[in-house]
Symmetry: C2
Subunit: 297 residues, 2 copies
């Protein structure tokens, strides 16, 4: 069970009115496209406009379905910002062919981000290559790849946003496991060129999370929210919950990134089969309301 | 799928002979009773003797089935050490009744450990109370409970062993998530009274793991091994793999605890439905062989 409570249209005694389009509280709210996984760029863009979101977080695959230029125009004409492009990364291959393919793919992702008008390319750095137990080696290869990609991104006006992943994903998805570690990898580069993603789902457990968010001042490239809900589902990739359904204290995290000077968009990114199956308008309305009740003051 | 490869009796071309009872390489090897979950204390003890293990890690529930005195006698008569008793803890209740009940239960666990002749009581400290998002508060309550329990344990000659749990279990099982954090909670007490558990499954992902193991010198109360196997099963509690089936570099961790001066038993603790369903003699033989090939030099 997912813990998703799409409390539209039934509401609850404690429910607040759903914020309407034009509500200034929604100005920084961004819908990451993955939250409405069945929708293409056009449909997701319309949904954001219909519900008053200020921005959208795009994914490369649905963008590729209609072409980068068309996607860029759709979002621009809708008056939305592109808060980020997901995702580059997967930079841990140990063989030369894998390494070259990954760098080429990331160069394309940088170009796509620039064409879409976002300065933020989220990097999920990749897990251990099949059969490998060399975690330190994989982490080093991420740093090595960054040395190649940062100048390319800087030329394109794109900031690479390192996303520390929950340690549950260390083996197969992302060997950067903490904010502290991600900041260390970013440190050799200007903050304008390499930032970090603060995703509540990935960092909420970290005893050093608030301290590291303070240290990240100037480097926070994206702030993403979704909740930790137990028990985890069979596919742990799809365990993310709607804000308010789980164990994360979003308000404290939002205040921490505020205090670190972050004033960019706040992306709601929910990988969850029940959310994906639900009516997108109900999802968007719930996201807007929970954003107001759980994330803002 | 669990990734378990019980390569007895088929073996593989690369298989080494199974170490036999009396093999000095097995002197520090301990079978945590949970690895053969269907067996009672008597059967698990016999199994350890049959396969030449030097010690056994006991759990309170199967001990209670036959009584602490009888369990102690069985293990002593078999010539085995009790490497640890699992487990006390669950100290995060926010209400007075829950807190009192937890302290009482831990006092009983301390008495049981002493009666069983082990100086190590493993503490799984507990997750967030239902409905709570106050992670810092839960962590503080662990520290507060420890202040009550440490003198009780010290009087009984028992060392409390704080087990940092993988962050995947932070919400519902253990709010101590790293070695560093556990060492900070242990710091006010003598190392002889409060130690930490190094369980490869819980700490392998931590960028600071080796550094913190070095810092833990003198405080390492237990070293436990089992592997991280992806994908995780539907019940993430049962995802632990046989050493060699996953992504963990055991030899490096064993060398690190060696270098930190740990010379106690090395416990194999595998929560895994397939391992539990297998023939216990095949499990014990595989554990002994994998211990030699994956953990020792």
């Amino acid at each position: 069970m997912s813990g998703v409570d799409l409390d539209v249209p039934t509401g609850t005694p404690a429910a607040v009115p759903t914020p309407q389009p034009g509500d200034p509280r929604l100005a920084r709210l961004s819908l990451n496209q993955k939250t409405v996984n069945r929708l293409g760029v056009a449909e997701a863009t319309d949904l954001c406009v219909r519900h008053g979101f200020g921005a959208i977080g795009l994914w490369r695959e649905p963008v590729a379905e209609i072409g980068t230029a068309r996607a860029a125009r759709l979002v621009r004409d809708a008056g939305l910002r592109v808060s980020s492009l997901c995702r580059g990364g997967f930079l841990t291959a140990a063989d030369e062919a894998g390494r070259t393919a990954a760098l080429d793919d990331n160069r394309r992702a940088i170009d796509e981000a620039a064409a879409l008008g976002t300065d933020t390319l989220v990097l999920v750095v990749g897990g251990l290559p099949a059969g490998s137990r060399d975690l330190a080696g994989a982490r080093q290869r991420v740093a090595d790849a960054l040395a190649v990609l940062v100048p390319v991104a800087a030329d394109a006006g794109v900031r690479l946003a390192l996303e520390p992943m929950h340690p549950m994903f260390c083996a197969d998805r992302g060997v950067l496991s903490t904010m502290e570690q991600s900041l260390a990898v970013a440190a050799p580069y200007p903050a304008s060129q390499v930032g970090v993603v603060v995703d509540t789902y990935h960092v909420w457990w970290d005893p050093a999370a608030y301290q590291q968010i303070a240290r990240a001042a100037g480097r926070i490239a994206s702030f993403q929210v979704c909740d930790w809900v137990v028990p985890l589902p069979a596919d742990t990739l799809l365990g993310r919950g709607m804000m308010g359904d789980g164990t994360i204290d979003f308000r404290s995290f939002r205040r921490a990134v505020d205090a670190a000077g972050y004033d960019g968009d706040i992306e709601v990114e929910i990988f969850n089969a029940d959310v994906w199956a639900a009516d997108p308008d109900a999802v968007a309305a719930t996201v807007a309301r929970r954003y107001v009740t759980e994330v803002l003051d």
